[in-house]
Amino acid sequence: MRQSSLGYQVERFGLVLVWLAVIILFGAMRPDTFLSWSNFSSIFGSEAVLVIVTLGLIIPLTAGDFDLSIAQVLTFVSMLTAILSARMGLPLGYIIPIAIAAGALVGIVNGTIVLFFRVHSLIVTLGVGTFLHGITLWISDSQTISGVSRALMQYVIIHRTFGIPISFYYAVLLAAVIWYVLSYTAFGQQLLFTGRGREVGRLTGVAVGRVRMSAFVASGIMGAIAGILYTGTTGSANPNSGTTLLLPAFAAAFLGATCIKPGRFNAWGSVIAVYFLVTGINGLSVLGFRTYVHDLFYGGALVLAVMVSQLVSGRRERTL
């Protein structure tokens, strides 16, 4: 990596520039609605859930594993939170640890099957995620459950700092933690080698199995946190809520890997990618496009991001 060269800096901040360009473009077209502070603060607040799901995804992705179950962990935990709060009236002090433990448990199940039976994570987490969705539909009777404790909403969406809902700050805090762990700790290096040179890592004493297991548990916990926040954001739990979040999260994870630290899944890149994507969607819907643009935009972005990252790595290979 030529860290000093101009080209490299452009590559690092390319997505930020594109993001600004998108804001300017939509701002010029709809200055009164798109460029309003309330529009932006609602984008920042409500999409915190997507940021956290994306951050959760990049942990196993760095270790070379996919976690397709994370969106269903979100749905399940969101439903669990709603049921524990609205139906059973448990206080938040109990609900949150239970919810996080549930996410961790799903991570352990994923990790155990992947490691012990040596099945590809893509298949395992696809199956576990679908199974989890089944449980969610079952316990909720396929109904949206509302009437969640107002305290939860207070701590997620109602309370604002500098005009932005507090959930945004949770997401930023988690991004900072993951950024620190990935780039400044030995565990971050272990994750990296587990993903990019598994045998090299194993022969150098990295406990590859334990690292992968930790990554699954971490993504389960992140899914659970996102689930709690989701319920807090809407005050209710919808049994299909997470289903639409998986693809955007993957798109953001891969798009995020093209900036800040190009070629690697990274926390700040993921945050920027999420907000770039939702700004685009928001702008298009302000312009009057209907919901189908979501799929066009997210799907297109995922494929484009993967193409760009291939181009980048291809160019490196050719410079050999």
């Binding site: 762990v181 700790t185 030995a186 990019r196 194993r202 022969l203 004493g205 990295v206 406990a207 410079t319």
Partner: protein, 485 residues
Amino acid sequence: MPGEIHGLLGKNGSGKSTLIKILSGFHRPDEGSLEVDGRAVPLPIPLGRSERIGLSFVHQNLALLPEATVLENLIAGDHERVNAWFVNWRAEAARALRLFEEHHLDLDPWARVEDLTPVQRAQLAIIRAADRVGSHNEHASPGLLVLDEPTPFLPIEDVRVLFAMLRRLKAAGVSIVFVSHDIDEVMEITDRATVLRDGHVIGSFTTGSTDRAQIVEAIVGRSLSQTRLVGGDPAGRASGVAVRALRAKVVAGIDLDVAPGEILGLTGLIGSGYDEIPYLLAGARPAEEGTLRLDGRDRSLRHFGPAEAIRSGIVLIPADRQRYGLALDLTLTENAMLPGAAGRGTLMRLDHRSRRSATADLMKRFVVKAQSPDQAGSELSGGNQQKLLLGKWLQLDPRLVLLDEPTQGIDVGARREIYDRLIESCGRGTSIICATSEFDQLEMIAHRVLVFERGRVKAELRGGEVTKSSIEAACYGETRVHAPV
């Protein structure tokens, strides 16, 4: 020349691969011209067109699909001849059999490639290339085959079999360019050889009338002595590492001792099991039985993992650098500093600046030629990758260094640097076990050599007995045949 086998020799980075890539259309040359069969060919050659103009390539990895059959591999990609919509498998099989028979090859079209022996795979790749170039050539000449290091994974007996095949192809009028590191092989098979250094042609030799030293000098640019770099007999002086009753899939009943400061060489023919020993002692592969004694503590090799080996001061430098040695798309710093980050999962802050400067120091000490510690491992040449790997492990001041083919695919100059570092670390009391099929390497650096046969130690040579010829004699017993098959 038509019907000639021409050797192409040179160190890594001397321009061999670049030349081949230009010929296969992968690179665009800055200038120059090319003639094939007396006809000028416009450069650059469009990718995939090289067979039409009479050039065909066999790369080291052979480009065969292991799960597919011999026949499937043979016709794969042969779009010119094979109908895209319907494959007449019976006719194709008959054609393949005729082809194999013509070249005296014992290949079954329906066998799966992964079940073939290594030499059969090489034969298949070569016959496929020869077949293509012969049938697609626009000028209906037998064409030119470029063989890029086809032999390094073959035992000597198989190299002979392969050479016999090449001679038959040559007799049929096929021209062959034979690219290799192995001077002896080039001397044996080629009619003439060209040596490249730093992108220039140093000279062409008629191999029959040139002696080895001349060629070595042309490759290296200075003549290297092949004298022993180690002396004395450190064995028995003090206790070092002792292995007892080691048994695994391919080896049985192995006892070995290495003293501090001793380099123990392990060798034998391919399949004799010597090359398994480093992996077993490093905990990289489980043994069925056996103990390793170091510092008065016995460790069972049945339950021995890399992490425990490294904690005990045992490090492994594997033969397959690209897969087991370095993570190629990570930086040199990350690769070199991995041992420090690999231990228990810690959330302590890594000091990037000190990691980077430690890597820079290491690169200086081990003469790793690279632009910066932030480069990706893939950007280094094989020799520099290996030197970095050596630095990664020797910085730990290990008790026992295990090597498997430490100089595979590495040019003569870098080899010498690697030997120097190893001997230096020996001087500090490190024990070294080096498994290799290169006998002259053992002659240079090994205090003692164990020769393996069928998973057991067959002979032990020490001190002055460690010479290339006596190792050869021990390996092949009395029955060594040097004559071409």
